[in-house]
């Protein structure tokens, strides 16, 4: 069952939601893109439906709404420290199915890995609700159908934009915001069913593949900029960073900032030891995590097929082509 509303009607619903929630979603920033005259689609606060950009893939995912690129953990003054005052407002985040599936991966890591719950993540996460909007078309480099993350469940609402109309599937708790409209259409959420790119994640991967010359090509091409990690909706690595304020060295803070397994320094230890010095080894480390290691631990592949790593790579390295190539290597070696 669904509500079918016009844009104006849904805007009315959004204004009701704004009484209780901040609305966050992809917004278009004119001429802020990486090329001249190109726009940037990025996450930001939205006031009405016209702010929400559903035509085009955001450069960064919705990850930053619950796992910010830089997050203050403590403020320090001399020997005293305190946690930031942190009372996040309830939020609704608009995102695509791939990014919503990515949130499940973040949950596994931050809430369930190890015996401790990540308090900073949890505080934002439990205030956040997700409105997933279906993709009208597949974008460049997308391969979500291959990773099974084109579909999703467990959302707070699902939206299909259909020209003048929007098909809306709110969960029970959100139906009250639709009061006055009839939920009478016997239709189902529609997910994208085809991408231009298909990949077949190889079975039977193991550490035997680690030494394969397959990875050498990436050693030559990858420049270790880390864009693939930072744009990835499922990358969760971070580094602790203490700073003091320039104007007052007695005061400062401890932050955590996003980290990249492709960038120098990721494994550096006091005393000078480090691991995976070659970019090819780092690519292997990342790829294996996305399509093998994570699943061994959490029973689902990490990669959600959004293709953003391909979108942003300055060396035109393609993750999906890497996986497809790996399939061939595994088939040949077995």
């Amino acid at each position: 069952m669904a509500y079918i509303l016009t844009h104006a009607e849904f805007d009315t619903v959004l204004q009701r939601l704004k009484q209780d929630y901040i609305l966050i979603g992809p917004v278009r920033k004119k001429n802020k893109g990486k090329f001249s005259d190109a726009d940037l689609i990025t996450y930001g606060q939205i006031e009405s439906l016209s702010d929400l950009e559903t035509n085009g893939k955001s450069q960064f995912s919705a990850k930053e709404t619950i796992f910010p690129p830089s997050q203050t953990l403590f403020y320090f003054t001399e020997d005293e420290y305190r946690e930031p005052k942190f009372e996040p407002q309830k939020r609704i985040v608009f995102l695509r199915a791939c990014d919503f599936n990515a949130i499940k991966r973040l949950d596994l890591l931050f809430l369930e890995n190890g015996q401790f719950v990540d308090a900073y993540y949890k505080r934002l996460r439990e205030k956040t609700h997700f409105f997933v909007f279906g993709c009208e078309k597949s974008y460049e480099n997308c391969f979500c159908v291959s990773t099974g993350t084109n579909q999703c469940e467990g959302y707070d609402a699902f939206l299909n934009f259909k020209g003048e109309k929007i098909n809306l599937f709110p969960s029970e708790p959100f139906k009250r915001y639709f009061a006055g409209y009839e939920e009478n259409e016997d239709i189902l959420p529609q997910f994208i069913e085809r991408n231009h790119i298909q990949v077949d994640i190889p079975e039977g991967l193991s550490t035997k593949i680690y030494d394969h010359p397959y990875w050498d090509q990436y050693g030559k091409r990858c420049i270790g900029c880390g864009r693939c990690n930072f744009s990835c909706p499922t990358c969760t690595c971070f580094t602790m960073q203490d700073i003091f304020y320039r104007d007052n060295k007695n005061a400062g803070e401890r932050r955590r900032v996003w980290a990249s397994c492709q960038v120098d320094g990721f494994t550096d230890m006091a005393g000078g030891h480090s691991y995976r010095k070659q970019q090819g080894e780092r690519m292997r480390f990342k790829v294996m995590h996305k399509i093998h290691d994570f699943a061994k631990r959490f029973n689902m592949h990490m990669c959600v097929g959004c293709g953003r790593c391909d979108d942003v790579c300055p060396e035109y390295i393609s993750f999906s082509q890497c996986i497809s190539g790996l399939k061939g290597v595994v088939a040949h070696d077995n």
Partner: protein, 264 residues
């Protein structure tokens, strides 16, 4: 209210022992009671945080042996007794002590690798009946790099101690050569029943393990302790991950049969 696992606790420095010119041991007042081989996250606010293994512990205090090698450790070495450090933990899985009970145990430690096993050795020094026999094989770069000299002299009274340096200097009359050269001596007769702990730099652990296996120590009788950049210590930050294993959670102590498949 959620407990914040990143919250450090202030710990007063009780005393500082200068082991070498670059390695200081800090005794900290704390209620933390670590298992043998566990680590803590140590920080100086506004400077940084790092994982450090516990090199000794008794109720009321722990000791951390810290080499001056970087930004944070440089600052640490400026601290004085009475100053505060910040710690959280303990983290990780330590040595499975029950598996060494009534066995012959060999501990091979290279350089600062002695720190994570020192507490265990001290424990056996206090409870010598708990293992059948303990042999210590310790290697340092030069005589000037030897850590815990007083402890080592003390340990000689109860255990077989083999101390070697890679490069001798004037006045040194002990063994010279890599640890791997002395594995045969440490193993002795009836080796296959012995349990072995190896801690040190990655290459040292690799080649020392191979040497013990060569002298008939079964792989399942060997344990290693890994050093990695553990930013969080609680399985979140990702820096210490190898394959599907988080060193901070499943390690830092691993059975060799697990460790040999952990390929960075």
């Amino acid at each position: 209210m959620i407990t914040n696992p990143y919250l450090p606790q202030p710990a007063e420095i009780i005393s500082i022992t200068k082991e070498t010119t670059t390695d200081y041991t800090f005794r900290l007042k704390t209620d933390i009671q670590p298992d043998f081989g566990q680590f803590v996250e140590v920080s100086i606010p506004k400077v940084g945080e790092a994982p450090i293994s516990v090199s000794n512990a008794q109720p009321g205090w722990i000791e951390l042996t810290i080499r001056r090698v970087g930004h944070l450790t440089n600052e640490l070495h400026e601290l004085k007794p009475g100053d505060l450090l910040f710690i959280r933990g303990p983290y990780g899985k330590g040595f499975p002590k029950e598996q060494y009970r009534d066995k012959s145990l060999i501990i091979a430690a290279g350089g600062t690798g002695l720190a994570p096993v020192r507490n265990l050795i001290n424990y056996y020094y206090q409870h010598p009946g708990e293992v059948r026999q303990l042999s210590l094989l310790m290697g340092f770069k030069t005589p000037e790099d030897i850590l815990f000299k007083e402890d080592i002299e003390k340990w000689r009274s109860k255990f077989q101690v083999l101390l070697t340096v890679d490069k001798e200097s004037p006045g040194w009359s002990g063994h010279v050569g890599l640890i791997t050269n002395f594995v045969k001596d440490a193993v002795g007769e009836n080796s296959s029943a012995s349990r072995v702990i190896i801690v040190g730099p990655p290459l040292m652990m690799k080649f020392t393990s191979q040497e013990f296996i060569k002298y008939n120590i079964p792989e399942e009788n060997i344990w290693l302790s890994f050093e990695r950049k553990m930013c969080c210590g609680i399985g979140k930050c990702g820096h210490c991950r190898i394959n599907d294993t988080y060193v901070c959670l499943e390690g830092p102590v691993f059975p060799y049969i697990t460790a040999k498949n952990l390929l960075d």
